[in-house]
Amino acid sequence: MTALFERLRKAAATTAFRLSAVAVTAFVLAAGVIGALLFWQTNSVLTEQVLSTLRGEAVLLKKQAVDNGPVALAESIKELARPDSRGLYFLVSPGGVKLAGNLDRVPPELANSPTGGVFRVRGEPGTPTAKDSGRLAVAIPVDVGDGVYLWVGRDIEDQRLYADKIKRTFLIGFGLLSLLGLMVGLAVSRLFLTRMDAITSTSRSIMAGDLTRRVPIDGSGGELDNLAQNLNDMLDRIEGLMNGLREVSDNIAHDLKTPLNRLRNSAEAALRDPRGKDAYREGLERTIEKSDELIKTFNALLLIARLEAGPLEDSLEEFDLGSFVADVADLYMPAAEEAGFILTIETVTGVVVRANRQLIGQATANLIDNAIKYARGGQPGSAITVRAGPAESGAEISVSDRGPGISAADRARVLKRFVRLEESRTQPGTGLGLSLVAAVARLHHGSVRLEDNEPGLRVVLELSERVIVRAPTKTRDDMAAIAAS
């Protein structure tokens, strides 16, 4: 019982209930006003009708009195005032003596009224019906001459009863209507409440630390479902960010502390070295070198974190993707050749993007640098191909090599921070290169795809259509043909 009460109380406190209560109240008020107007209008029309009938009758009776004398009038009145008649008459002499009629006296309500009006037909004081509410009636006075007065009236009790009935029907109707409205309001708010309760309980457990919880979705596609879906998407993003943060701190602990420790060790070793000054110099140089590496790692980490935090509107530039990528690849050309690669640039110009030029450059540089580092240069067929141009998704940059490639199982893993497949870590690097590329792609509404180059690896940086300002109107096949030529 208390639980039910509590539920009702809660339902009554909801916005849905309050809104429906306001709506019901407004409706009832409006209906009440209309009803009252209708009632009043009907009543007055009916009363007016009765009054005009009375006035007509009064004129006729007065004419009779003038033509035939008061005695004839009294006769007529007697005739008219039959017990079953709805007409009421009271003919009174100047002395106040009743001459004829079915009323016993001038109605007390109208005693001082020169125009007549509404009164109740009751018995004289002292008679058994005196205290009754009586029947409702209307009467007007007629001066028939020589101080003789005639009251002509009509019983309108039936009309009153009819009006009362209408009034009652209206009131009951309104009562039922408001009750129904409130009940619908409660039901709606209950429906609402169940959904809200689900959201509230989900958000509670999330606040308590369980980020994996999600708001249930019923698939109706309604506003609440959309809201729930949005909340879930937001939670996904938050969870992703949280996991990223946790991963970063774990990795900082591991991948930054280890080199820091090595740096410290080497400084200590230099201090203990009996060779003295020379050893100190070497030790300090090594320390600077190692701290530079640490700074690089740190910068890359900060950059990724910055990129994942959101867009960099301030630094967007419009540039031709193909020529820019070709330019970056050109920077690596001598280094690639030195490392025993044949670097081929197959870029298509004409795709103008609005993007962060430096970041696209950094991502391209990382991809080429990775290829040079890991694709085993110097062996026959060591080729690196850098491509850029329009694609289905919008535009893409790709770097392909003929090296050992990455197994399908490892492909998703290498996009994560600090993952380096080469366990011995003989190649210099932060392990952040590809995850930085992925972050740059995400910032430009794109993604990174790793493919089998058969043999070798092809990394594709997809840029979304949203960053493209202008693209050549030619079809993709045409572009490919141009690229190939």
């Binding site: 950059l303 970041l359 580092k373 690097g429």
Partner: protein
């Protein structure tokens, strides 16, 4: 050190005393004098009294932040070259710094050699050298009008990028130019190329301008970068 380069007057506006004193001491060792200011207001007052060859401004300063100092100076018509030092080094921070009126931007932590090279390059800017149409170091001559490079009268054929590289080096003849400076000015890249891509470009350039000649002009400065000069490093 080249004439006009030594004894530069530098104002270092930096709130970290240890950093400021390190910079002051190091600049002194390199033949320059440095004044220190510990906050934005003091820095602004000193800078407007001047004259200084270069201002080194930390971005985050007490009382008045670095960018406001630079903006105020610039709006007062002070054109002294400014090197901004900042812990904020990511993508749009640099753009903001340069937009405020800074001439160069260096992210903390930095190598002192990088700092010195940039300060000296900025100090050099006050010498109206941009209009020069012909650079020469020893018998190496670069003609900016005809885009021709000769050494000892012998014409040297350079790729466009090699030409730009040599032009920048010769514009800063006698000074140390770091790899990052080359990347920024010759390529207009403000990102980390991961490996030493510049070195290979330099060695290709060196092969063209130095190899067949007795006296090398393009020198590697260990731990710092490169310099082109006629004479010992």
């Amino acid at each position: 050190m080249q004439d006009g380069l030594s004894d530069m007057r530098v104002l270092v506006i930096e709130d970290d005393r240890e950093t400021a004193q390190f910079l002051q001491k190091s600049l002194k060792e390199n033949g320059h004098t440095a004044d220190l200011a510990g906050d934005g207001e003091a820095g602004l007052a000193l800078a407007s009294e001047g004259p200084y060859d270069v201002l080194v401004v930390d971005r985050m300063l007490p009382k008045l932040d670095g960018l406001s100092v630079i903006k105020t100076l610039r709006s007062a018509g002070n054109r002294t070259p400014v090197l901004i030092l900042s812990a904020l080094g990511e993508v749009d921070d640099r753009v903001k710094g340069l937009r405020a009126g800074g001439d160069d931007y260096l992210t903390k932590p930095y190598a002192y050699s990088e700092f010195l090279a940039r300060v000296e390059a900025l100090g050099r800017r006050t010498v109206p050298e941009e209009q020069q149409t012909r650079y020469s170091v020893g018998d190496l001559v670069l003609d900016r009008l005809s885009h021709r490079v000769t050494r000892g009268g012998e014409s040297i054929l350079l790729q466009p990028r090699e030409y730009r590289l040599l032009e920048y080096l010769m514009q800063h003849a006698g000074q140390v130019v770091t790899r990052t400076m080359l990347l920024e000015h010759v390529w207009d890249y403000h990102f980390d190329p991961q490996t030493n891509v510049i070195d290979v470009h330099i060695s290709r350039l060196r092969a063209k301008i130095d190899k067949t000649f007795d006296k090398p002009l393009l020198h590697t400065v260990r731990g710092a970068g490169y310099t082109i000069r006629d004479g010992p490093v």
